[in-house]
């Protein structure tokens, strides 16, 4: 229900509102649109400085696209398939770990009344305020001692210990599950683990989906982490791989760069199209604090 609809009454106002919104929306989408357009051009056309949506012989669009994508995919110097695999490995391991561990920890905060719970939860919230640079360099040194520099481990192992945002989200969700269900399970002889596995977990799939989705986005987007912890090109993630196309003194193959950028952006866009409501629910829920 949209209660602000009462603000706008006349059809003319509605029209003006729609016009304004659609123009703004078009502007917001323009950069992404432009990226996609450039994948259909050759280098000369992209660099030519003339504003055009379609390449010069418009019919060359499919061949240009195929050409650009295959060049990026098979480039021996910038091995995109390897980076994609690395990113997926980190994503799968990290998201699985984050979801599982956060679900477990959140249950502890939500359903068990233990000493210092309030203080520890406040500490959890406080850790969300710690800027990454404070821990960045020592984490690097810790991983060096563990001989994890040069592997993907620094990127996904910490996720198996839970994350503040995910724990917070899940705890809020669990608190809304009626305690009567717990009681019923307890009467049946279940301990905490039974309640968790049989009652809480199955009921919290929407929240788990949100946690998984948001952590996936975080991993997909992460730039600073891979920049510091990954050294060898074999291990690069897509974010670092994309940077390899950038040159300082010109000569950047813009059409290939935009094609590579499309490949990095496309999976996320695809997920969004398929799961828009999950995204939105996840974003909206973290703002509803009392």
């Amino acid at each position: 229900m949209s209660n602000t609809s009462s603000i706008i009454r006349s059809p003319l106002q509605r029209l003006a509102l729609s016009a304004a919104l659609f123009s703004l929306a078009a502007l917001f989408l323009l950069p992404i649109f432009w990226m996609l357009i450039t994948t259909g051009k050759t280098l000369e056309q992209a660099n030519s400085g003339t504003l055009s949506i379609l390449p010069d012989p418009a019919g060359s669009l499919p061949t240009n696209v195929a050409d650009n994508f295959s060049k990026v995919w098979t480039d021996p110097a910038v091995t995109f398939p390897v980076y994609l695999r690395n990113t997926l490995v980190v994503a799968v391991l990290s998201v699985t770990g984050m979801t599982l561990s956060s679900a477990i920890v959140a249950y502890g905060f939500a359903r068990i009344n233990f000493r210092f719970r309030g203080g520890l939860f406040a500490l959890l919230l406080a850790t969300m305020m710690i800027p990454f640079p404070v821990v960045m360099a020592p984490l690097y040194l810790i991983f060096r001692e563990l001989h994890w520099i040069g592997t993907l481990k620094p990127l996904w192992v910490p996720a198996w210990f839970g994350g503040a945002f995910s724990i917070f989200l899940l705890r809020q969700f669990y608190m809304q599950i009626p305690r009567e269900l717990d009681e019923a399970a307890r009467i049946d002889g279940c301990g905490h683990w039974g309640i968790f596995a049989r009652i809480i977990l199955p009921l919290s799939t929407p929240a788990l989906a949100v946690v998984a989705l948001f952590h996936f986005l975080h991993v997909w987007n992460d730039f600073l982490g891979p920049l510091i912890f990954l050294n060898h090109r074999d291990q690069f993630t897509l974010a670092l791989g994309l940077q390899l196309y950038q040159t300082k003194a010109g000569g950047t193959p813009v059409n290939l760069l935009m094609t590579a950028a499309t490949m990095v952006v496309a999976p996320v866009l695809l997920l969004f199209v398929l799961a828009q409501s999950t995204f939105i629910k996840g974003v909206a829920s973290d703002g509803l604090k009392e």
Partner: protein
């Protein structure tokens, strides 16, 4: 297909790709020593080096070099070396050498190689100081070999010269001649906007720290302990820049040149389009010229020097000498094998091959006739002469150089765009640079007295 099924299948596909997808290239050839070589170049320059690497791998069967393009190599290399997971060969920028040598991040090469293959005597006079640095005990050692290099010279548009009534075989030799020619070459529309500039220090403006030496000034003293930015020579350099700004009007130049930044490698390159008649640039410009406008009639000459310096310049042209360097990191798995590869890249035919492909001049003490005659840059002999000249200059050999360069990068726009007193601006920058050098000295002294440094 329901949405859920679609998402589930995508996730499954992703997991499958993660498990069974392609991994990075594994070592080629069993029994070989595999060396990882990280290099900073991309695009065509990288491809040329790859050819050299392939030739080396094919020429012998003991060593296999894997070549990796690395973005942001000056940061990544330090992170990797400090992290205990370095490459076996690394291509650094010349300004990285002081920090890496002083902290022991790279190994001295003089005991690994042989004087014939990699000794200092092979290289142009201007290039040698780039390769050496005092090690932890203070002894001067060779820490790098150069793979390609370039020097800066004056590029001028011969067609524009003729139009303005100037002789294209007689480029300006002194600063006052430069100013005189520049004024003749300026073209304005009836409305007062520029159509062509004779010369502006802001295009391309890539070396804001390097104007002093054309006037006889330097950024620091030879030992890089004291800043010398407030010298009268540097003051004349920046006063000259201020005078140019007052004559040309920065806002008009800015309007005329909107879009020059980022257009170096495109048809919109200011020099190639004839929008600026004379610029300070390196030999790599010929790469863009040949691609965008091969019929451009251009000339190359040493950059003009202050009138007062003219008698001294008899010894040789003045110009910035740069080189990209190749080094062996601490922790390299087989320094001797790495040195064998480096020595291969230092053979004259290889150096000249790579320099030709990179559109750069040579780093060796002399160039073969074929190199000069077949080089795609018609002015490569000028660039070679600058490298071999005793009057060439390089970036200050201090680990603070990136920060010094940043300070100069702020001084330049202040001098160009504002009306603040030039002496005052220079004094501020001088103080900032001196502070950086003092910090370096105090940190070094403290480390020495703490009983030398144990490696972390």
């Amino acid at each position: 297909m329901t949405r859920r099924a679609a998402v589930a299948s995508i996730v499954a596909a992703g997991a499958g790709f993660a498990a069974f997808g392609p991994r990075g290239p594994r070592a080629g050839g069993s029994g070989r020593v595999v060396l990882d070589y990280w290099e900073k170049w991309t695009g065509d320059e990288a491809a040329a080096m790859k050819q050299v690497v392939d030739r080396f791998n094919d020429s012998q069967s003991r060593i296999h070099v894997r070549y990796f393009i690395t973005a942001g190599i000056d940061q990544k290399a330090l992170i990797a070396i400090a992290g205990g997971d370095p490459p076996d060969i690394v291509g650094l920028y010349n300004y990285n050498i002081p920090l890496y040598a002083e902290t022991g991040a790279i190994l001295p090469l003089d005991e690994l190689g042989s004087p014939e293959a990699t000794g200092l005597g092979r290289y142009a006079q201007g290039v040698r100081p780039i390769l050496t640095h005092p090690d932890r005990s203070g002894a001067l050692r060779q820490f790098a070999c150069p793979n390609t290099g370039g020097t800066l010279a004056l590029y001028y548009n011969a067609g524009a010269f003729r139009e303005a009534g100037l002789d294209p075989t007689r480029p300006p030799r002194t600063i006052s001649e430069l100013d005189e020619f520049a004024e003749k070459l300026d073209r304005r529309t009836t409305g007062g906007e520029y159509q062509r500039l004779g010369f502006t220090p802001t295009e391309p403006g890539w070396w804001p720290w390097a104007w002093g030496p054309y006037f006889g000034g330097t950024l620091t003293d030879a030992a890089a302990r004291h800043a010398t930015i407030d010298s009268p020579e540097c003051l004349s350099a920046f006063s000259w820049i201020r005078n140019a700004a007052e004559r040309l009007a920065p806002s008009l130049v800015s309007r005329f040149g909107a879009g020059w930044g980022g257009s170096y490698d495109s048809p919109f390159n200011a020099f190639i389009r004839g929008e600026v008649a004379m610029i300070l640039q390196g030999p790599w410009l010929a790469n863009v010229i040949n691609r965008v406008n091969p019929t451009l009639d251009y000339g190359v000459a040493p950059f003009p020097i202050a009138d007062a310096l003219a008698p001294i310049a008899q010894a040789g042209p003045v110009g910035l000498v740069e080189a990209d360097t190749i080094c062996i990191p601490r922790g390299s798995k087989d320094p001797e094998a790495a040195m064998e590869f480096i020595a291969y890249t230092q053979r004259q035919p290889i150096v000249e091959f790579l320099s030709t492909k990179h559109f750069k001049s040579t780093v060796l003490a002399s160039a073969s006739d074929e190199f000069v005659s077949e080089h795609p840059n018609r002015g490569v002999a000028v660039h070679n002469a600058i490298a071999q000249s005793p009057r060439g200059f390089i970036a200050s050999r201090t680990r603070q150089f990136p920060q010094i360069r940043a300070e100069m990068g702020s001084l330049m726009p202040a001098v160009w765009n504002t009306r603040q007193d030039v002496r005052g601006l220079i004094a501020k920058t001088h103080a900032a640079v001196q502070r950086l050098l003092d910090l370096e000295a105090s940190q070094k002294a403290r480390r020495q007295s703490a009983g030398g440094s144990g490696a972390a």
